[in-house]
Symmetry: C2
Subunit: 392 residues, 2 copies
């Protein structure tokens, strides 16, 4: 959508772009290290693109954002407002995008869920180690023998050579750990996963802007999949106190400004040629599709993934312009994906049409542990149709 | 200190106890599961106390609090104010208290640093696994042989029996992982570590109150070592909105109340017979001892550990009543600890006397990686003198 488009929201979008620029001008984050990492990643995949990974199409690229942003209340940040998100959607979607042949830039909050985490016990580091590994005494030092069902039997395996205890992976976690190691090794070899970590809203939006700038030459090949929970309110850096707020007598009054909506700036100005997917989380079913439709039309994104808090792991609703859905369905049918139920989500769709906007509901298949394979398949089919329409 | 003591702060302390009770009455947390865990722990150590662990003295008990508390801004908590603390002091001190023969109740923020974490790489779970373990192909499947320096050599060790890849611990992390496993196993066998996790200020203070109540029968044998970073301001639960704050137009105004200071209530009413150590973190050297002295006198705690943000890993200042320091020095000298420099901190002390309050500065010994061994030794010596004075 052009910044000066004739939609009724045109004026607001221009304003949003200005507000976004003003926000970034006030940000204390330079992002130089991130810019270097992104440049290396883009160079690798730009070069690869000329030959194509399967001899025909270059590898598509997705920026997956995940976790919640923080808002500092002091410059030397002790106190901050946080926006809770475990990061499950972003981490699981990243794995599915990798499976679908994408190169992924994962822009993630420190400490939130990472790709392949779900293959490991959910625990802090010492407990994690305790759950996946155990000590076995060196062979011969243990009186009980022949018990092959013991969690860590002393069958002479391990890396110790007779000096002290031997650490072994517990058999019930060996397969999960092996999968994590193999998956991470594959990402390293192919250069398909770049992880960028943020904490604050300033870092998040500065890095997103850097990504948009550097990925712009790759145009429609790039998708932005904006699953992070971005703070709505913040205190501008220029208004923040340098030191810890003193806890003198009396209540504390905080006055927070709106964070400018970056979706409009991203879709219309920073990455106008790319495919932009935003997320909407609500608690009220009756408002869900209406609010998602408003976001679709106001910000010029291509697809809104709408969730309800209580069932977001089992049901998602794709909200999009009607013609986009038709093109995606055609592309998915052409690729033979619809029959598998993992393409455009046709099997489970429940269309709602309203003013050229269509809502398609996807339900987690009973045999799958997560809905992200279905969701990512449906989103990737729409991105493929978008690339095809753009002649990319 | 008696609730109706004749100090000028007497009235304020009574008020503080009332405010603390009002806070807890408004808390949404019941803490029943925590109460059960604590009861089991107390029963074990009460019984052990009658015989004594070394035939003479029962094992002392310390409650170490760690990490920062959160303040929810909605009842279904999406947004909250956080008080950053990595939890290093609490986690390291817990290890040192265990070494010193204490049983430890570790009241810790979810996700903050845990005891024995420092023996492992600091990384999210998939990266942690990648750094401590690796895949080795089954013996015979690897062409390169005899390379004993390879990170994961295929010398036929591991738990696989010829089916697929074998997971091994990397040799450079085997010793660290073995230490974590052995330390956690020892804690399980001896029942010396109970970990309780909190997120919100409501959970933290409710659990602390439960601990004080249940440990009260053990009197002077118990120490409270309050290293957690507790929020200064909060929104009472009764004033919190049920759902997500709607981000309508205009700025957001938040009005937060003071969290009542629990130190006075804990030291004078909830755990009047126990040894209470509080912490003070400042950025201004000139205010440090003065503020710590005020806390010592106002709240009736036995010892304040004062830190400066920039050098808190190398220097701490113990602020205490003068007679307490003399008793501790005598106890430490009696136990022959002063010569080792790890007892009452006599080696590095730099006394400052002011109105019966004395400040002793401890410096991290050059040969130690952390200051917590020295700090915990000095605190434990004071607790020993306190128990002796109480005839316990």
């Amino acid at each position: 959508m052009a910044p000066n488009g004739s939609s009724p929201e045109g004026a607001e979008e221009v304003c949003s772009i200005e507000a976004a620029s003003a926000f970034l001008a006030d940000s204390p984050v330079s992002g130089e290290a991130v810019a270097d990492d992104v440049a290396t990643f883009v160079a690798r995949h730009s070069a690869e693109g000329h030959q194509g990974t399967d001899g025909a199409h270059p590898r598509p690229i997705v920026v997956v954002t995940s976790g919640g942003t923080t808002v500092p209340l002091e410059r030397r940040c002790v106190r901050f407002i946080d926006n809770f998100s475990a990061g499950t959607r972003g981490a699981m979607s990243t794995e599915r995008f990798l499976e679908a042949g994408y190169a992924v830039i994962f822009l993630t909050r420190t400490g939130s869920l990472q790709p392949f985490s779900h293959l490991l016990p959910s625990a802090d580091p010492p407990e994690l180690v305790d759950r996946i590994a155990c000590l076995a005494k060196p062979a011969g030092a243990d009186a009980s023998t022949g018990d092959s069902n013991a969690p860590c039997s002393s069958s002479g395996q391990g890396q110790g050579q007779g000096q002290g205890p031997i650490v072994q992976i517990r058999p019930d976690h060996a397969a999960g750990v092996a999968k994590v190691l193999a998956a991470r090794e594959a990402c390293r070899e192919q250069g398909t996963l770049l992880v960028l970590k943020y904490e604050t809203i300033f870092e998040y939006l500065t890095y997103l802007r850097i990504l948009a700038d550097q990925l712009q030459p790759l145009g429609p090949r790039v998708m932005f999949y904006l699953a992070a929970a971005v703070s709505d309110f913040y205190v501008p850096w220029s208004e923040l106190a340098e030191h810890k707020i003193q806890s003198a007598d009396g209540p504390l009054e905080l006055r927070l400004q709106r964070v400018p909506k970056m979706l409009g700036a991203l879709a219309s100005a920073w990455a106008p040629a790319s495919f932009v997917v935003s997320f909407k989380l609500e608690t009220d079913q009756s408002l869900l599709v209406k609010k998602a439709s408003t976001a679709l039309q106001r910000y010029g994104v291509h697809l809104v993934v709408a969730n309800l808090l209580h069932n977001r792991k089992d049901v998602v609703t794709l909200v999009e312009h009607q013609e986009a859905q038709a093109a995606a369905a055609a592309a998915a049918a052409g690729a033979g994906e619809a029959a598998a139920g993992a393409g455009a989500g046709l099997g489970a769709e429940m269309g709602q049409e309203d003013g050229g906007v269509r809502a398609v509901e996807l339900h987690r298949p009973a045999e799958e542990a997560d809905i992200e394979r279905l969701l990512v398949g449906a989103v990737a089919a729409r991105h493929a149709a978008f690339r095809q329409a753009a002649g990319a």
